[in-house]
């Protein structure tokens, strides 16, 4: 029997959730015996090459590219997991949600203290760039999500427990010390 396939992505996140994933330490050796990785920054496979059993996404959606990748994951993955605070509730990037996008961009490109006043002020607007969304959105407000693993980042133990429970077909039995939001 072929191994279950796992894919991961980082959208509007800081990559911290992926780092926490790697914090499973030597258990990663067991993991590569148990599963095969497909599209993921961990193995640098850029496009899906087969159907995936477990998709894991860190970060919320802040632009059109994030939404596209998320929808692609939903299409290819049987089970889709929201990993971490940003995926679950927008997180730090969502702190801009009460500020109009134009104001945010003007702050970044026109008024920030690191702008050189002698340079012309340019706000990038090339049509090849992804469009910034009005609000940073959690994943489950865009596609159906099957499981949520909170934390900033979620602990390696939580990620390990969730993955092994899924692989063994057991329900995820959470304990107090695994559910933390920071």
């Amino acid at each position: 029997m072929s191994k279950p396939v796992v894919a991961t992505a980082s959208l509007a996140g800081c990559f911290g959730c992926h780092m926490s994933f790697l914090d499973i330490d030597e258990r990663i050796l067991t993991l590569i015996d148990l599963v095969e990785f497909n599209k993921s920054p961990i193995d640098d496979i850029k496009t899906f090459t087969k159907p995936v059993d477990i998709g894991i996404i860190e970060g919320g959606c802040c632009n059109s590219e994030n939404v596209e990748v998320l929808r692609e994951f939903r299409k290819h993955c049987q089970v889709l997991i929201s990993l971490g605070e940003c995926a679950i509730m927008g997180g730090l990037p969502a702190m801009r949600n009460a500020i109009p996008v134009r104001e945010c961009l003007e702050e970044a490109y026109f008024h920030s203290p690191t702008i050189d006043p002698s340079e012309p002020k340019i706000m990038p607007g090339d049509e090849d760039l992804p469009i910034i969304l009005d609000k940073v959105l959690p994943l489950h407000e865009i596609v159906k999500i099957d499981a949520f693993l909170p934390g900033c980042p979620p602990s390696a133990d939580l990620i390990w427990k969730a993955l092994t429970s899924l692989l063994e077909g057991k329900p995820l039995d959470l304990s107090y010390n695994l559910v933390k939001f920071d």
Binding site: E85, M89, G90, G91, L92, M95, A98, F148, L174, F181
Partner: protein
């Protein structure tokens, strides 16, 4: 006229308990080692019945355990699945109604709202996030009011006063537009100790003392290891 009984008896989920006449359900349950979750309650202040997290059921009716006095023979339902789920829903509503970015919050680990979410193993709120536009308001020299995190529990309105007993906090508007207001002059007159107390009384990270924060490392904060309510339940033994 018969004399009122010195003790009255009641049950919580079938467990026999006793109370002094006049005690609220919440207080009496606590004295019997039973934890009823609550957010707006602060021992010593007049109960407000604002958050409804302590809702229990008696004879098919829902009531706030923090305001309802216990009566002789009362049969209280507390730890039952539908009530627990309703409480969890209330907590989830508080999360989506404000802007709660726990990883950036000074109160994280010591926050009662977050602690209840942990106790109920909340993974994601079932309601859509509102992302309201709220701001951070300086309140005198010693404290800040972080409106993004305020749950309008009214603890500050009830319990933060100056030495000459003037209320430092009040409310503006009503219902979902309700907002806590602060008297800048009175807030400036708070001593360090009073400012610290104000911060401690706020269940969430809405009242913050300036120039401190993140003082206790992760692992040693109030709710890092044990769920909120453990102290009450331990007392039962």
């Amino acid at each position: 006229m018969s004399k009122p009984k010195a003790r009255i008896s009641f049950t919580v989920d079938g467990k026999k308990c006793s109370a002094a006449p006049g005690q609220t359900i919440l207080q009496a349950a606590k004295d019997n080692g039973i934890y009823i979750p609550a957010l707006c309650r602060w021992e010593g202040f007049k109960p407000a019945g604002a958050c409804r997290v302590c809702t229990v059921r008696v004879g098919g009716r829902y009531m706030a355990a923090c305001t309802q006095p216990v009566t002789d023979g009362m049969a209280v339902e507390n730890d039952v699945p539908d009530l627990q789920d309703m409480r969890k829903a209330l907590i989830e509503m508080l999360f989506v109604e404000g802007n709660h970015m726990c990883p950036t919050c000074e109160k994280s680990g010591n926050c009662e709202l977050q602690a209840l979410a942990y106790r109920f193993l909340m993974l994601v709120p079932r309601f859509p996030f509102q992302f309201p536009a709220r701001r951070v308001e300086p309140a005198g020299k010693k404290i800040l009011l972080e409106h993004n995190r305020c749950i309008k529990c009214l603890r500050c309105v009830r319990g933060v006063r100056t030495r000459d007993n003037k209320a430092v906090f009040g409310t503006l508007r009503r219902s979902r537009d309700k907002k806590i207001s602060v008297d800048q002059v009175l807030a400036s007159a708070l001593t360090d100790k009073q400012a610290r107390q104000a911060m401690d009384r706020c269940p969430v990270g809405s009242i913050l003392k300036k120039e401190v924060g993140f003082a206790v490392p992760i692992g040693r904060r109030k709710y890092d290891k044990e769920p909120i309510g453990s102290d009450v339940e331990k007392a039962r033994g």
